[in-house]
Symmetry: C2
Subunit: 326 residues, 2 copies
């Protein structure tokens, strides 16, 4: 399978790492909106090209992985490039998925391409865990806890406060709530009861720590509904201890069966990721394989993780999978 | 969807419970090899029939769920009834799955039926967790821990010992090993390091406890490779505290990504089931829905959990799933 990468940030770099772990996948081109000479890519001999050249690659790439952001890049890029390539994206604005799906579906169907959108872990593997668990235990209650992990959006929000030089925000599940749910209880949990927020903040010289802390903890939607802890640290300490982008979380469904619904079951799926983007990239590459196979079978249009039989993700044959994994 | 049940033990009864939770599923017949009058079924007005009448129901049942055992029932029944019906089974003899698959596939394809075999949680949801995790993190190590839960096979083995009146055997993961793996370590674990076995045994009057205990702990394959604890209790205590059939376990993959494989990730899927058969039955019913849809689309032959797109399991439309679960 010949793969292209569009966009060379953390995700694009992660795709490059993942390709090296998959023998059936070759990286054949990296596209960027920047000057290609400014990119320091990992793979020797792979062409790095400005996006203006992408049309010339129409027949040379089996699947193009779109590594842009969900706010403005992907809503435009995925439908556009689904007209030229089979594509995979990690669009993660949950509320806009139906609209994005429709746009990509039209573009892909018109041109005989296959696309999968919103691949990653949430949306992605977490969605899958919710869906399987709901189909199996229709009478039950779902919980999703995120973290401990870095929220880029919340880190950015803190960095925009006057007097802040740098910041990292961690989302942390509330242990007592997580443990209650894991033990089979089905409490109603408020926003505050599910997660706390921890901020590590580097102040600019002369900034007022009290004011910055107040602005953080009272920030509407981002922090005001949570118990938030603010730690002021040096840039050195932040660089040393908080430069990673870990994340993860827990999807739990507690459900009931039996004559009078008296039997309890807990289904749990969890991730502990040292690098959120590297893991997401690995998911993207597995789904690129699926998209390639689906397209070869003539299954055109837009798919999500719900529409793709698991075996398509694997480099192994169905015979092998039945023998060694079932 | 019109469902039939074949075999009315714990699994068949569990299917009956699950049907009541799924509005799109109707139970239309229960078949048994016993005298139908001996069955005390839950659902009012559902015909209970001897298997000799099953051919008359060929066009009246959308999916037949086979609730027999894997040792002798299913290897014969699933291929046989896949010639008359769409079928689902929970065949769980891992080593014989390729052979069983081939037999069922031939029967179903010849007659335009759809079958899914080996549905449940292991094989089943645990297989799925292994497969997704392996496709996403090709460089990693898998662990499966079972329990705490009742092993019927081991309980039966203890009951066959002379002097034993009744017995229940629990398989228990070794906490230290489970916690090491969950924290991202990738130890090589021996059989003994992964699970312990706990037996609750009721002796017949006059039986020699020392001899029974020795026969249990030294029993080849079943117990000799494990640290086994034997508790002698009264029949009353066994009936009171050990009549349930709980089970569950953990599927964990620790994998690596990054430039030099220096980034660690842990993917974990776990189940805690108060009733092993009731949960398995709920999985069977969700896959019966999938089999029905696949057959309507003309997708004939035998499938496994790897071959079925997740959305087929749900009573919800793809639009709804994208909106509320992705």
């Amino acid at each position: 399978m010949k793969l292209g990468i569009f966009g060379y940030g953390n995700l694009g770099r992660g795709v490059e790492y993942a390709v090296k772990q998959n023998d059936d996948v070759d990286l054949v081109a990296i596209f960027t909106r920047r000057n290609p000479n400014d990119l320091n890519v990992l793979t020797a001999n792979v062409p790095v090209l400005n996006v203006s050249e992408i049309e010339n690659w129409k027949d040379k790439i089996d699947v193009l992985i779109l590594c842009g952001g969900s706010a403005t890049d992907l809503p435009e890029q995925t439908p556009k490039y689904a007209k030229m390539f089979n594509v995979v994206d990690s669009f993660d604005t949950h509320a806009r998925i139906p609209e994005h799906f429709a746009n990509v579906d039209t573009a892909a169907k018109e041109t005989g391409h296959t696309a999968v959108i919103s691949v990653g872990w949430d949306p992605g593997l977490f969605s899958l865990a919710r869906m399987y668990a709901n189909a199996i235990l229709p009478d039950g209650k779902d919980y999703t806890f995120w973290g401990k992990g870095v929220s880029q959006g919340h880190s950015d929000a803190v960095r925009r406060i006057e007097g802040v030089q740098d910041a990292r925000q961690y989302t942390v599940p509330v242990d007592a709530s997580l443990n209650a749910v894991r033990s089979g209880e089905t409490p109603e949990l408020s926003v505050r009861e599910k997660h706390t927020r921890e901020c590590y903040v580097v102040l600019k010289e002369g900034a007022d720590a009290k004011r910055v802390e107040h602005e953080i903890v009272s920030m509407p939607n981002y922090f005001d509904q949570y118990d938030t802890t603010v730690h002021f640290i040096s840039q050195e300490e932040l660089d040393k201890n908080h430069k990673g982008i870990p994340h993860g979380g827990f999807v739990i469904r507690n459900g009931k069966t039996g004559l009078n619904n008296e039997t309890n079951h807990t289904i749990e799926f969890s991730l502990k990721l040292d690098s959120n983007p590297e893991f997401t990239s690995s998911v993207l590459v597995a789904f690129a394989r699926a998209v390639y196979k689906l397209n070869q079978e003539g299954q055109f249009g837009c798919k999500t993780i719900f529409d793709i039989a698991p075996a398509y993700l694997s480099a192994k044959t169905s015979d092998e999978l039945r023998k060694i994994m079932l």
